[in-house]
Symmetry: C2
């Protein structure tokens, strides 16, 4: 008898199957890189292989990835990174003195003067100091303590880490986390993974996707029936909805968090991406401190930033930080221990972050070019935000709030009943059906609104405004044509 | 009555406290960056501030961080990274043609031809292809499929991800994971975080820290009483123990895994770090396939590699990959989805990994320098491995197995009963007491054996062999003197 038959191994099947794997992982969803994107990659392959399509390229407007859409990196940032990677070039007079100064300072703070060494788990100390000074400048002098700064592998990493600290309890005592709907799906994915309870509060589409406290209260009170709400997550400027919160709204949210004893998570990765007249970025930290010591010394908060967005768009480097405020010192020690298990965030990303928070100053040689590049990116984004709103709102069946900030539009689309029925017959969510058809017919890759959450019976898609202006015009045109055709086809 | 008193907020204390935080996080421990290291950082600060100490610098031999200890990066690798970061330099004739060729290929595979774009979540496709070809060369032609390669944020990230897929069940059905004792504490930390059951199997110190299957069986059978063992983790070459497993041992382990229906995790980040005569690195994959289709088509496995170790020691970049073998396709789809939530591993780390798996070839201009640098690093490590064993074994009360591979020695130390009593009186683990005293008196930072696990009643420390040869000699000398003094003091 064979060994195999004796052990019965052959009948046992796999050790790890989709039936017996971690059920929390199964519940995770992440639409930004979901089936539409997988199909888009496939279509790109088919195009390369010469398969005929009604278009010659796939335009990926599904993800906030500026450089993938052709945006050029900030020269100064890349110069410093080069000098950090290959210090021999510090002797090369091709590189400006301020870039060399920054590189030397970063290298001096690295183990063995090399970005190839692990850093402290919380991040390189002098970079945390620079971050703290940046926050102080941004917030008009409100103090920031470098001990409260944790560098991270993109904001994603920091967000998941804070959620992990907060989630506990079983059954009705399980931690509930309030997130906006529509949301950035990192949040729902992390909550599924942690088996936390997701508490949805709806943004008000009729009021430019604003947040109102009555809705927070409704959501919280309902949730209290079945879980222990502990955390309130805010994204400002908003992804996918592009709204910028007013100072008043932020104050109301903070007051609500205090009253309801909630830990605040403020995702502020788009803090430089504000375009609309009359809108301004207010950090939660600043508003918190302006509300007086009753708030600033009690409300617990973490705020998140990233090198991936704003004017730099350096997504590939995975740089980021969080600042924790009023966190219990013992919990902070636990946080420091937890991040030490993964050793440290990538050091090139830390270096890049240092440049973001400590850019060229007016008396430095790189200032002019830096300012020119930065301004150009932000001006173009503002122009594209305007253009997008304008063109979409001309299309019957598409309505679109102003893109006040961030990098996305989340227009509402009216779908004919026949299309909804057809989608259901095919076992598809209606806006997924719509986006898939758009991809197949026009080569444009968007994310269905259902990937972010939306009010029942409403349909949306998310599109980034990142394609170069001329290409964006083509995209908008194609979506318009498609939408009209689609509406006709199913009417 | 004030708002505060009405709500009772002021009496409620913090939202997040060490009492009500995630209990799994509290159970996490990570000695490599524990209290000894925190004290070392403090002492460094004191030295800078002019505090008098019996030494002038702290030597950190606690972590496998080659460049922090002065090792220079491989020139070719950094050249390509520079060209990827700042493509203007592709026109510069300071850089060799093969470096430019590699950089162009990597950039062509990046979104928008920039390493500042997010990559595919599984990693850049052409780099995964290069990894697969590297594995095929390494394993004498056994095929490797790029679809089975996942790039990662260091090996740490990939290891935690695979464990996360595998852990499920409650109570006696909870997943059990077998790890060696002594172990690399990433494993115990990840298991605590996932609330998995840690199953200890002991390496045989009397036989050069070898692994024997009888001990695996013992550990497994005991564990079956209280959990569902599903996973067997192996580190080869070993950290902290420095052993290199024989081919026969690997075959036995694989057979055991098959018989007992266990998922194998092979941590092979030190695959180039083999020094001892007669020792050779055998990958689990290769042995698995040489055992015939009965094994190679059934045993599920993941193997891990990293840019942090071997001859390159590029820890700061956090590059790595895993290869999954015989993984259920549906589970693989879940894995792909899970990694997509974090968007992608850092792209500079991916680029670096590409160079590790696709280094200069004999007909390319950088080959000579690359080979010289690589050989020099590995030859020096071999020399330091020999030196360490030799000097420690001369000290009465220290016994030390040969450092066959990896970057560490894990010598056993005999502690006088009085020292053990003193430590206990101070509430300290005896080897922690020893290492802390060594740090205070000699400025040498090691990790106590208790941080990795050891047989009850035995004591060890882990030291890296990474300090430059002359400094290593000083370190060994100082530890010898300290050990004799310590033994005297407590006799
Ligand atoms: C609102 C929001 N938060 C966090 C992130 C994560 O960004 P990263 O991990 O690249 O810093 C994103 C990325 O799109 C985002 O839109
Ligand atoms: C055995 C082992 N596995 C994994 C790692 C993680 O390395 P990294 O995450 O830097 O790739 C280490 C680091 O020391 C290690 O020793």
């Amino acid at each position: 008898m064979s060994q195999q038959a004796v052990n019965g191994v052959s009948c046992r099947g796999k050790v790890l199957t989709v039936e017996n794997m971690n059920p929390n992982v199964k519940r995770v969803e992440y639409a930004v890189r979901g089936p539409i994107v997988q199909r888009a990659v496939q279509i790109e392959k088919e195009l390369r292989e010469g398969v005929k399509k009604p278009f010659t390229e796939v335009i990926k407007a599904n993800i906030g990835d500026a450089q993938a859409m052709g945006q050029r990196p900030i020269t100064f940032f890349r110069q410093v990174l080069v000098l950090c990677s290959y210090p021999e070039l510090l002797e090369d007079n091709k590189f400006p003195e301020d870039a060399k100064k920054r590189a030397r300072r970063i290298l001096d703070a690295c183990g063995g003067h090399s970005i190839g060494a692990y850093s402290a788990s919380q991040g390189i100390e002098c970079i945390r100091q620079d971050v703290a000074r940046y926050i102080e400048r941004r917030d008009g002098g409100i103090p920031s303590n470098p001990d409260n700064i944790y560098l991270s592998t993109g904001a994603s990493d920091a967000i998941v880490t804070i959620l992990k600290l907060l989630v506990c309890g079983e059954g009705r005592d399980r931690t509930g986390v309030m997130i906006s709907i529509p949301q950035y799906p990192l949040y729902s994915a992390a909550l599924a993974d942690l088996a936390a309870v997701q508490i949805n509060y709806y943004l008000d589409e009729d009021n430019c996707w604003s947040l109102n406290v009555a809705e927070l209260k409704r959501a919280l009170n309902e949730a209290k029936q079945h879980c222990k709400p502990r955390v309130l997550c805010i994204i400002n400027p908003g992804n996918p909805t592009g709204q910028v919160q007013s100072r008043q709204c932020i104050e109301d949210v903070i007051q609500f968090a205090k009253e309801e004893h909630l830990f605040l998570m403020a995702d502020e990765v788009y803090q430089d991406n504000v375009y609309a007249e009359g809108c301004k970025f207010h950090s939660f930290k600043k508003v918190l401190f302006e509300m007086g010591p009753e708030y600033s010394s009690t409300v617990e908060m973490a705020s998140f930033h990233s090198t991936s967005k704003c004017y730099m768009g350096e997504c590939g480097f995975r740089g980021g930080y969080m600042e924790v405020i009023n966190m219990d010192p013992e919990v902070k020690a636990q946080l420091t221990k937890l991040v030490s298990v993964r050793l440290c965030p990538p050091v090139p990303g830390q270096a890049l972050l240092d440049l973001v928070v400590n850019p060229p100053q007016p008396d430095e040689p790189s200032y002019t070019l830096f300012t020119k590049e930065r301004t150009a990116v932000l001006a173009t984004l503002a122009e594209k935000a305007r253009l997008t709103e304008e063109i979409f709102n001309e299309v019957p069946g598409i309505t679109c709030n102003p893109v006040q900030g961030a990098m996305y539009t989340f227009p509402r689309i009216t779908l004919p009943q026949k299309a909804i029925d057809k989608a259901k017959a095919e076992g598809k969510v209606p806006d997924m059906f719509y986006c898939m058809k758009l991809l197949e017919e026009e080569g444009i890759c968007l994310v269905p609104g259902s990937g972010f959450g939306q009010k029942d019976g409403t349909f949306h898609f998310r599109m980034t405004i990142l394609p170069p202006t001329e290409k964006l015009k083509v995209v908008l045109q194609k979506i318009r044509d498609f939408h009209l055709r689609f509406t006709n086809e199913f009417s």
